[in-house]
């Protein structure tokens, strides 16, 4: 069965510092991996995806994520955090075979960026 784990309920960083939000996955076959962000009272917004190719994927708002097959991880990163990055972040996976829209989400990680 496919699954996604986000081991941290909350990540706190100071503005200007680098941030990392962790995600590990379990899926049979080649994974399709995603990050979505949810701001208060708004729907989820797509940040980035990994399908194939370069292990470092760049996305919206300066975010990037690194795919590591041996560690089955897909951590979200940003070199310099902004207060406006504070939100709830979800990692998701699909098996990629047949139905790429059927996403399995992690439980979410709250990112708090302090000025």
């Amino acid at each position: 069965a496919q699954s996604v784990a986000q081991p941290e309920d909350q990540v706190n960083v100071a503005e200007g510092n680098p941030l990392t939000v962790k995600c590990t996955y379990s899926v049979s076959g080649n994974p399709y991996l995603f990050w979505y962000v949810q701001y208060p009272n708004r729907g989820l917004q797509f940040l980035l995806k990994y399908i194939t190719g370069d292990n470092l994927v760049k996305g919206s708002y300066g975010f990037e994520a690194e795919f590591n097959k041996s560690q089955t991880s897909f951590h979200l990163k940003k070199p310099s955090a902004l207060v406006s990055d504070s939100a709830l972040y979800f990692c998701a996976v699909s098996s990629g075979s047949g139905n790429t829209g059927k996403l399995i989400f992690g439980q979410g990680t709250t990112l708090q960026v302090k000025p």
């Binding site: 729907g43 797509f46 995806k49 979800f90 139905n99 829209g101 059927k102 989400f105």
Partner: protein
Amino acid sequence: EAGVAQSPRYKIIEKRQSVAFWCNPISGHATLYWYQQILGQGPKLLIQFQNNGVVDDSQLPKDRFSAERLKGVDSTLKIQPAKLEDSAVYLCASSLVGSEKLFFGSGTQLSVL
């Protein structure tokens, strides 16, 4: 570009009552999804449509939940009768056929008392 529209924004009902949610996807998006997001958890797919056909409803509690997309555009999700554990945010999303990028609406927050 208009996003995914959902209504109502909030709904409070008593257990055993019925409730319906409405979703209008982005124009041209043939694929439509309903996800359930319980507080503290990630969204869980309930049902996926492509045009007016069901692609996946394996996690839909069919004894109480139903959904339709009769004309292949907007969709309605119904719960009858509601249980306390149905309290959640119900998210609608849409995408182009074969696209991995989903566009989500703001959701309907349901409280069952």
